[in-house]
Amino acid sequence: MTALAQTLRFTATDVTGTHTVEATEVQRALPAGAVARSIASKMALPDDVPWALRSDRTSVFLDDDVAIGDQIETDTPITIFPRTHLGGRTRAEV
């Protein structure tokens, strides 16, 4: 396998534990941010929300711009989080 095509696999879950993706053959060189967006798409989560990944082993958010293979090992359980906040600033129109 060429270096570009080296892959890893992991299980990703959403924050409520309801949706799970068994991701296989994810290129190690892919930035974590791109992987997060593709996982969100696979779970049919909204695509207008910024998503982040967190390693359940180290409890650390993965850096969007760093290759995922440089941040986790294969079979690391991952959680996908929305980078959005609650808050009372803007009332939704009723």
Binding site: T2, L4, A29, A34, S38, S41, A67
Partner: protein, 262 residues
């Protein structure tokens, strides 16, 4: 008898092509010598190697070759052609920049034998990165994401994306045929981008600018990478479907082409 002077204009690429020994044919849009021909169609300039290509398989043995040469299939008669496409912006609009086109034509001829110029060096990586938008080599399309690579070395400048990272060994034969059909069709439809099998189980898409004259690289690099991204974004999901997800899809139980082999 009154003679009428011809009012046909001479295209700006005429002089550079004639300098390289190509002669115009009767239709004024094509040129040819013993080795290659040139034609303009839909604004693109296409060089084509004369004679039968040595390789019989358009998807094998092409990755890593210098320049934009690729094998395409004439769908009407099944004939394999070896072509090198240039985007409209590279063709000269007037004679004042015809010199630049002569350097481009030189590049086409120099790479037609499949060998790189070992004395040629690409621009510095920092300069190449300035010509590209941020994250140009990261592609995310729905559920699928791919990381591309810029191979920048003496004699080499190639942009590469993996399309399929692993074709399973036990992929059913008919699905392999459909995968091949998809890849060959993509290869035929889209200019500049070369699709090929790497090793036994990977599929890659490339745009190779090795040996290109530096004066056109600032234009060709973003065009090439944009085209590469477009082609990969179109082909990666159906390719993934054929490799991983098509179980139970009855439409794929019919062969697309009894003669194809992967």
């Amino acid at each position: 008898m009154t003679s009428v002077a011809s009012t046909a204009t001479v295209p700006p690429w005429d002089a550079p092509l004639q300098a390289l020994g190509l002669r115009p044919l009767d239709d004024d849009v094509a040129y040819r010598n013993g080795m290659i021909g040139f034609r303009v169609h839909s604004g693109w300039g296409t060089f084509e190697a004369n004679g039968k290509p040595r390789s019989r398989d358009p998807l094998r043995g092409q990755l890593g070759r210098p320049g934009l040469w690729k094998l395409v299939t004439n769908r009407r008669n099944g004939r394999l052609r070896r072509v090198f496409d240039l985007p409209p912006s590279i063709l000269p609009r007037d004679a004042s920049i015809a010199d630049r086109f002569e350097a481009v034509a030189d590049w086409v001829l120099a790479t037609s034998g499949g060998k790189a110029d070992s004395c040629w060096s690409p621009p510095a990586e920092e300069e190449l990165e300035r010509w590209l938008p941020p994250n140009a080599l990261t592609l995310q399309v729905g559920e699928t994401a791919r990381q591309g690579d810029m191979i920048c070395d003496t004699g080499r400048l190639t942009f590469d994306f993996p399309v399929v990272t692993k074709i399973p060994r036990d992929l059913p034969a008919l699905r392999r045929e459909w995968l091949r059909e998809l890849l060959a069709d993509t290869q035929d439809r889209w200019r500049m981008v070369r699709i090929g099998l790497a090793g036994r189980s990977e599929v890659h898409a490339q745009v190779d600018l090795s040996g290109a004259p530096h004066e056109v690289l600032e234009e060709l690099v973003p065009i090439g990478v944009d085209t590469l991204r477009l082609v990969v974004s179109l082909v990666v999901e159906p390719a993934d479907f054929l490799v991983h997800g098509a179980d139970g899809c009855r439409a794929l139980e019919v062969s697309p082409n009894p003669r194809s082999q992967i």
